[in-house]
Amino acid sequence: MENDQPQESFEAFTKSFFYGTRSDLSFKFLSDLTPHDASTFLQHLFSDLVDAIDDNDIEKIKKRLLSGQLKGYENQKNFDYDDGPFHLLTKPASSLNFTLLTSSGHFVLGQDPQPLGVEGMTQKEAEKRIFDFLKEKPQLSEIPFEIQHDQLMVRHGGYDTRAAQKDANVSFPYQGMTVLKQQGKINSLTPNAYSFVGACSQVRLLKQTLSGWIEKLKQQNVDAMVMVPV
Protein backbone atom coordinates (compact mmCIF):
# COMPACT_ATOMS: atom_id res chain seq x y z
CA MET A 1 0.00 0.00 0.00
CA GLU A 2 1.46 3.35 -1.03
CA ASN A 3 1.70 6.24 1.41
CA ASP A 4 0.93 9.57 -0.27
CA GLN A 5 1.91 11.59 2.79
CA PRO A 6 5.10 13.62 2.22
CA GLN A 7 8.09 12.51 4.27
CA GLU A 8 8.85 14.64 7.30
CA SER A 9 12.27 14.78 8.91
CA PHE A 10 12.63 14.44 12.67
CA GLU A 11 14.07 17.95 12.79
CA ALA A 12 11.01 19.33 10.98
CA PHE A 13 8.84 17.47 13.49
CA THR A 14 10.55 19.12 16.47
CA LYS A 15 10.48 22.56 14.79
CA SER A 16 6.73 22.24 14.20
CA PHE A 17 6.07 22.72 17.94
CA PHE A 18 7.47 26.27 17.69
CA TYR A 19 4.51 28.12 16.17
CA GLY A 20 4.27 25.52 13.42
CA THR A 21 1.73 22.90 12.48
CA ARG A 22 1.94 21.32 15.96
CA SER A 23 2.35 24.57 17.86
CA ASP A 24 2.45 23.85 21.59
CA LEU A 25 3.98 26.51 23.80
CA SER A 26 4.87 24.03 26.56
CA PHE A 27 6.94 22.09 24.06
CA LYS A 28 8.27 24.85 21.80
CA PHE A 29 11.68 24.27 23.42
CA LEU A 30 11.96 21.12 21.28
CA SER A 31 12.96 23.38 18.39
CA ASP A 32 16.02 24.52 20.37
CA LEU A 33 17.29 20.99 21.03
CA THR A 34 19.64 19.09 18.77
CA PRO A 35 17.95 16.09 17.08
CA HIS A 36 19.91 13.83 19.42
CA ASP A 37 18.79 15.70 22.54
CA ALA A 38 15.19 15.91 21.31
CA SER A 39 15.02 12.21 20.54
CA THR A 40 16.55 11.32 23.91
CA PHE A 41 14.09 13.61 25.67
CA LEU A 42 11.08 12.01 23.94
CA GLN A 43 12.36 8.51 24.58
CA HIS A 44 12.74 9.22 28.29
CA LEU A 45 9.39 11.00 28.44
CA PHE A 46 7.63 7.96 26.99
CA SER A 47 9.34 5.73 29.52
CA ASP A 48 8.40 8.06 32.38
CA LEU A 49 4.78 8.09 31.20
CA VAL A 50 4.48 4.36 31.75
CA ASP A 51 6.18 4.56 35.15
CA ALA A 52 3.87 7.42 36.13
CA ILE A 53 0.81 5.35 35.26
CA ASP A 54 2.12 2.28 37.08
CA ASP A 55 3.19 4.26 40.14
CA ASN A 56 0.30 6.74 40.08
CA ASP A 57 2.90 9.53 40.37
CA ILE A 58 3.19 12.36 37.86
CA GLU A 59 6.18 13.98 39.53
CA LYS A 60 8.55 12.04 37.26
CA ILE A 61 6.83 13.47 34.16
CA LYS A 62 7.04 16.98 35.54
CA LYS A 63 10.76 16.56 36.22
CA ARG A 64 11.35 15.19 32.75
CA LEU A 65 9.51 18.08 31.13
CA LEU A 66 11.42 20.53 33.31
CA SER A 67 14.73 18.98 32.25
CA GLY A 68 13.74 19.41 28.60
CA GLN A 69 12.80 23.04 29.10
CA LEU A 70 16.07 23.69 30.94
CA LYS A 71 18.05 22.15 28.09
CA GLY A 72 16.10 24.06 25.45
CA TYR A 73 16.61 27.43 27.09
CA GLU A 74 20.19 27.06 28.31
CA ASN A 75 21.74 28.57 25.22
CA GLN A 76 19.32 31.46 24.69
CA LYS A 77 21.49 34.55 24.99
CA ASN A 78 19.68 37.48 23.42
CA PHE A 79 20.97 40.34 25.55
CA ASP A 80 24.36 40.47 27.21
CA TYR A 81 25.22 43.22 29.71
CA ASP A 82 28.49 43.33 31.65
CA ASP A 83 26.98 45.19 34.58
CA GLY A 84 23.76 46.69 35.77
CA PRO A 85 22.21 49.10 38.28
CA PHE A 86 21.60 48.15 41.89
CA HIS A 87 19.54 50.08 44.42
CA LEU A 88 20.49 48.89 47.90
CA LEU A 89 17.59 48.66 50.32
CA THR A 90 18.35 50.39 53.61
CA LYS A 91 14.93 49.85 55.22
CA PRO A 92 13.05 46.63 55.94
CA ALA A 93 10.33 45.54 53.52
CA SER A 94 7.85 45.89 56.38
CA SER A 95 8.22 49.65 56.05
CA LEU A 96 8.07 49.88 52.25
CA ASN A 97 5.43 50.49 49.60
CA PHE A 98 5.29 47.71 46.99
CA THR A 99 3.74 46.90 43.67
CA LEU A 100 3.63 43.88 41.36
CA LEU A 101 4.47 43.86 37.65
CA THR A 102 4.32 40.80 35.41
CA SER A 103 4.76 40.13 31.70
CA SER A 104 1.99 37.54 31.82
CA GLY A 105 -0.59 39.38 29.70
CA HIS A 106 -3.34 39.75 32.34
CA PHE A 107 -6.02 42.42 32.09
CA VAL A 108 -9.40 43.30 33.58
CA LEU A 109 -12.54 41.97 31.92
CA GLY A 110 -13.98 44.83 29.85
CA GLN A 111 -10.59 46.61 29.64
CA ASP A 112 -9.01 44.59 26.85
CA PRO A 113 -5.92 46.49 25.64
CA GLN A 114 -6.84 45.34 22.11
CA PRO A 115 -3.33 44.48 20.92
CA LEU A 116 -2.57 45.09 17.24
CA GLY A 117 -5.89 46.96 17.10
CA VAL A 118 -7.87 43.74 17.32
CA GLU A 119 -11.02 43.64 19.43
CA GLY A 120 -11.54 40.42 21.40
CA MET A 121 -8.37 38.69 20.22
CA THR A 122 -8.33 35.03 21.22
CA GLN A 123 -5.39 33.18 22.73
CA LYS A 124 -5.04 31.17 19.53
CA GLU A 125 -4.90 34.31 17.40
CA ALA A 126 -2.30 35.83 19.75
CA GLU A 127 -0.13 32.75 19.22
CA LYS A 128 -0.52 32.97 15.45
CA ARG A 129 0.47 36.65 15.49
CA ILE A 130 3.39 36.36 17.91
CA PHE A 131 5.85 37.84 15.41
CA ASP A 132 3.61 40.91 14.99
CA PHE A 133 3.58 41.33 18.78
CA LEU A 134 7.38 41.37 18.78
CA LYS A 135 7.35 44.57 16.70
CA GLU A 136 4.84 46.37 18.91
CA LYS A 137 5.06 48.77 21.82
CA PRO A 138 3.79 47.05 25.00
CA GLN A 139 0.63 48.21 26.72
CA LEU A 140 0.39 48.28 30.50
CA SER A 141 -2.79 46.95 32.10
CA GLU A 142 -3.72 48.21 35.56
CA ILE A 143 -5.39 45.57 37.73
CA PRO A 144 -6.76 46.25 41.23
CA PHE A 145 -5.21 43.96 43.84
CA GLU A 146 -8.74 43.41 45.18
CA ILE A 147 -10.13 42.20 41.83
CA GLN A 148 -12.45 39.19 41.79
CA HIS A 149 -10.81 36.27 40.02
CA ASP A 150 -13.62 35.95 37.47
CA GLN A 151 -12.93 39.53 36.32
CA LEU A 152 -9.31 38.73 35.48
CA MET A 153 -8.42 37.75 31.93
CA VAL A 154 -5.19 36.51 30.35
CA ARG A 155 -3.92 36.33 26.77
CA HIS A 156 -0.31 35.96 25.67
CA GLY A 157 1.02 34.43 22.48
CA GLY A 158 4.39 33.55 23.99
CA TYR A 159 3.58 30.97 26.64
CA ASP A 160 1.14 28.21 27.50
CA THR A 161 -1.58 30.08 29.41
CA ARG A 162 -3.61 27.02 30.43
CA ALA A 163 -2.43 27.12 34.07
CA ALA A 164 -2.90 30.90 34.22
CA GLN A 165 -6.45 30.54 32.95
CA LYS A 166 -7.20 28.15 35.83
CA ASP A 167 -5.50 30.31 38.45
CA ALA A 168 -4.00 33.70 37.56
CA ASN A 169 -1.68 33.47 40.54
CA VAL A 170 0.64 31.03 38.77
CA SER A 171 2.11 33.96 36.83
CA PHE A 172 0.38 36.98 38.38
CA PRO A 173 0.56 36.47 42.19
CA TYR A 174 -1.78 39.30 43.14
CA GLN A 175 -3.49 37.43 45.97
CA GLY A 176 -0.16 36.40 47.49
CA MET A 177 1.00 40.00 47.55
CA THR A 178 -2.14 40.92 49.49
CA VAL A 179 -1.38 38.14 51.98
CA LEU A 180 2.14 39.52 52.49
CA LYS A 181 0.63 42.89 53.30
CA GLN A 182 -1.85 41.35 55.75
CA GLN A 183 0.99 39.47 57.44
CA GLY A 184 3.07 42.63 57.77
CA LYS A 185 5.88 41.29 55.58
CA ILE A 186 5.47 44.42 53.46
CA ASN A 187 3.98 47.71 54.58
CA SER A 188 1.66 48.62 51.74
CA LEU A 189 0.63 48.02 48.15
CA THR A 190 -0.34 50.36 45.37
CA PRO A 191 -4.06 50.12 44.55
CA ASN A 192 -3.25 48.41 41.27
CA ALA A 193 -0.87 45.69 40.12
CA TYR A 194 0.45 45.79 36.55
CA SER A 195 0.73 43.38 33.66
CA PHE A 196 1.73 43.52 30.02
CA VAL A 197 2.56 41.14 27.19
CA GLY A 198 6.29 40.61 27.45
CA ALA A 199 6.55 39.49 23.85
CA CYS A 200 7.05 42.99 22.48
CA SER A 201 9.62 45.23 20.80
CA GLN A 202 12.54 45.62 23.21
CA VAL A 203 13.60 48.82 21.46
CA ARG A 204 10.15 50.38 21.90
CA LEU A 205 10.01 49.16 25.48
CA LEU A 206 13.35 50.77 26.30
CA LYS A 207 13.03 53.97 24.28
CA GLN A 208 9.31 54.76 24.30
CA THR A 209 7.65 53.00 27.21
CA LEU A 210 9.60 52.48 30.41
CA SER A 211 10.07 56.16 31.29
CA GLY A 212 6.30 56.54 31.50
CA TRP A 213 5.95 53.44 33.66
CA ILE A 214 8.66 54.72 36.02
CA GLU A 215 6.86 58.05 36.29
CA LYS A 216 3.60 56.28 37.09
CA LEU A 217 5.20 54.33 39.93
CA LYS A 218 7.15 57.31 41.25
CA GLN A 219 3.89 59.26 41.55
CA GLN A 220 2.65 56.50 43.86
CA ASN A 221 5.84 56.50 45.93
CA VAL A 222 6.68 52.90 45.09
CA ASP A 223 9.82 51.78 46.96
CA ALA A 224 10.12 48.24 45.68
CA MET A 225 8.48 45.76 43.36
CA VAL A 226 8.07 42.09 42.68
CA MET A 227 8.41 41.27 38.98
CA VAL A 228 7.45 38.05 37.23
CA PRO A 229 8.46 37.14 33.66
CA VAL A 230 6.86 34.25 31.80
Binding site: P92, V170, S171, P173
Partner: protein
Amino acid sequence: MSVGHAAREFEAAGIATVIIAVKSFETRMKMMSLPRVLLTPHLLGRPMGNPFDETGRISILNRAIDLLETAKNNGTIVDY
Protein backbone atom coordinates in the same frame (compact mmCIF):
# COMPACT_ATOMS: atom_id res chain seq x y z
CA MET B 1 13.85 39.88 28.46
CA SER B 2 11.12 42.50 28.83
CA VAL B 3 10.96 42.14 32.59
CA GLY B 4 14.75 42.15 32.71
CA HIS B 5 14.95 45.41 30.80
CA ALA B 6 12.21 46.91 32.96
CA ALA B 7 13.97 45.82 36.16
CA ARG B 8 17.21 47.47 35.06
CA GLU B 9 15.43 50.76 34.34
CA PHE B 10 13.35 50.72 37.54
CA GLU B 11 16.43 49.97 39.59
CA ALA B 12 18.33 52.83 37.97
CA ALA B 13 15.41 55.09 38.89
CA GLY B 14 15.70 54.11 42.57
CA ILE B 15 12.98 51.46 42.76
CA ALA B 16 14.32 48.17 44.14
CA THR B 17 13.28 45.06 42.24
CA VAL B 18 13.20 41.33 42.74
CA ILE B 19 12.40 39.00 39.86
CA ILE B 20 10.76 35.60 40.32
CA ALA B 21 11.50 33.43 37.28
CA VAL B 22 11.49 29.79 36.29
CA LYS B 23 14.85 28.04 36.43
CA SER B 24 14.78 27.63 32.63
CA PHE B 25 15.40 31.39 32.35
CA GLU B 26 18.63 31.24 34.36
CA THR B 27 20.95 31.88 31.40
CA ARG B 28 18.87 34.84 30.24
CA MET B 29 18.80 36.30 33.74
CA LYS B 30 22.55 35.96 34.18
CA MET B 31 23.30 37.54 30.81
CA MET B 32 21.18 40.59 31.62
CA SER B 33 23.04 41.49 34.85
CA LEU B 34 19.90 41.89 36.92
CA PRO B 35 19.77 43.10 40.52
CA ARG B 36 18.03 40.18 42.27
CA VAL B 37 16.52 37.00 40.83
CA LEU B 38 14.81 34.10 42.58
CA LEU B 39 14.68 30.99 40.37
CA THR B 40 11.84 28.54 40.95
CA PRO B 41 11.84 24.84 39.96
CA HIS B 42 8.60 25.10 38.04
CA LEU B 43 7.51 24.68 34.43
CA LEU B 44 7.37 27.52 31.92
CA GLY B 45 4.27 29.65 32.37
CA ARG B 46 3.97 28.68 36.04
CA PRO B 47 6.77 30.53 37.86
CA MET B 48 4.74 30.53 41.09
CA GLY B 49 3.96 26.81 40.91
CA ASN B 50 0.86 24.79 40.20
CA PRO B 51 -2.62 26.35 40.08
CA PHE B 52 -4.24 26.85 43.51
CA ASP B 53 -1.05 26.07 45.45
CA GLU B 54 -1.46 29.04 47.78
CA THR B 55 1.00 27.75 50.37
CA GLY B 56 3.68 27.30 47.74
CA ARG B 57 3.32 30.73 46.20
CA ILE B 58 3.28 32.51 49.58
CA SER B 59 6.50 30.72 50.44
CA ILE B 60 8.06 31.84 47.14
CA LEU B 61 6.98 35.43 47.70
CA ASN B 62 8.43 35.41 51.22
CA ARG B 63 11.76 34.18 49.86
CA ALA B 64 11.67 36.88 47.20
CA ILE B 65 11.14 39.61 49.79
CA ASP B 66 13.96 38.16 51.91
CA LEU B 67 16.21 38.30 48.85
CA LEU B 68 15.20 41.89 48.23
CA GLU B 69 16.30 42.81 51.74
CA THR B 70 19.54 40.84 51.88
CA ALA B 71 21.11 41.18 48.41
CA LYS B 72 24.12 43.48 48.42
CA ASN B 73 25.16 43.50 44.77
CA ASN B 74 23.83 43.36 41.25
CA GLY B 75 23.68 39.86 39.82
CA THR B 76 22.37 38.14 42.94
CA ILE B 77 20.65 35.02 41.60
CA VAL B 78 19.50 32.29 43.98
CA ASP B 79 17.50 29.10 43.68
CA TYR B 80 14.28 28.76 45.62
